[in-house]
């Protein structure tokens, strides 16, 4: 469902001699929703995800000479996005502000998400609690594990696609997924009475 079904638009939209504005716009249109969703899952912050999505395309354009065409443009963009999250996570200032505002932001998202007139309120509450526990666990994961987990479950990528996007071996992806899954399961288990 979440797989990218947009037309294949290559990085050659960014010509070497100048910007083909229409072609680059097509590249952005073809990938912006998927990248935003991925970054939203990895940051759980709509503003942050928006900024990082923009930064991904800007960085892709600035470093377009580094793109050799060995991978799909989407894979390359995904790798840039993951690297941006990693760089941002290393920033002490970013961690500080995120920690400071996280609680309010979560409350706002939660308030938006609770549906009206739910048939089984108790089950809804439990389900929300589990989903929140998963979200919290995902945020606490190291960036590489978080990326693998998100690409697998939100983007429904194959192990090979994840490996290509992360620039690592399939075995490494499996290891990341195993650790991430165990951490998420632990978190949900702790939430249950």
């Amino acid at each position: 469902m979440a797989r990218d079904t947009s037309p294949a638009i290559g990085i050659d939209a960014m010509t070497e001699t100048g910007l083909d504005a229409a072609a680059f716009d097509g590249l952005v249109r073809g990938h912006q929703k998927r990248l935003y969703r991925l970054l939203l899952a990895m940051t759980r912050d709509p503003d942050e995800a928006d900024q990082l999505t923009q930064e991904t395309f800007v960085r892709a354009f600035r470093h377009r000479d580094a793109f050799r065409g060995e991978a799909a443009a989407g894979t390359w963009l995904t790798r840039i996005a993951i690297n941006l999250v990693r760089d941002r996570s290393r920033s002490g200032a970013w961690r500080f502000w995120r920690t400071l505002f996280r609680r309010d932001g979560e409350a706002a998202v939660e308030a938006e998400q609770v549906p009206d007139g739910a048939p089984d309120p108790e089950r809804q509450v439990l389900a929300r609690r589990d989903a929140e526990a998963v979200g919290r666990a995902v945020l606490r994961l190291p960036v590489r594990q978080r990326a693998a987990f998100t690409l697998r479950y939100v983007e429904e990528m194959t192990l090979e696609e994840i490996a290509a996007s992360m620039g690592c071996e399939v075995g490494t992806v499996k290891a990341h997924l195993a650790r991430a899954t165990a951490a998420v399961r632990r978190e949900v288990g702790h939430e249950r009475p």
């Binding site: 979440a2 969703r37 389900a127 989903a131």
Partner: protein, 131 residues
């Protein structure tokens, strides 16, 4: 993610979390349009910077020229004792013209006057007139 203790809850939680993320990621068209505009605004389109520099330099030179002319002329203009007013005005006008000519020459010059000697040393051999 299923099986042992907590597995079913974790699976349900994962599914709900995925649905939540996907739901939150669904934005209206205005959001995507604004995002694309933001991206375009941050791109370094080739040549844009060069033009920006040229425009900034041109504006600076023009401002400097106007400032020099205005300062030289003064608020009421110098009055030389014993010289008719018309002559004084003509003299000031000549000075202004001369200044403007100098500014134009300076602007047209490829290398600032102070660096001409160095430029000749470095690039003199490539000067077509030197051949």
């Amino acid at each position: 993610m299923s099986g042992r203790d907590g597995g079913a809850e974790a699976t349900r939680g994962l599914r709900d979390w995925v649905d939540e993320v996907r739901g939150t990621a669904l934005r209206d068209e205005a959001f995507w349009t604004r995002q694309r505009a933001g991206i375009r605004g941050r791109l370094d389109v080739p040549g844009t910077r060069r033009w920006a520099w040229a425009l900034a330099l041109g504006a600076s030179v023009a401002t400097a020229a106007v400032a020099i002319v205005m300062t030289g002329r003064g608020p009421s203009g110098p009055v030389t004792p014993g010289v008719p007013a018309t002559v004084a005005v003509e003299t000031a006008s000549d000075d202004d013209d001369q200044l403007l000519v100098e500014v134009e020459i300076a602007v047209m010059r490829e290398v600032p006057l102070a660096y001409e000697a160095v430029d000749f040393q470095w690039n003199g051999a490539r000067d077509p007139e030197a051949d």
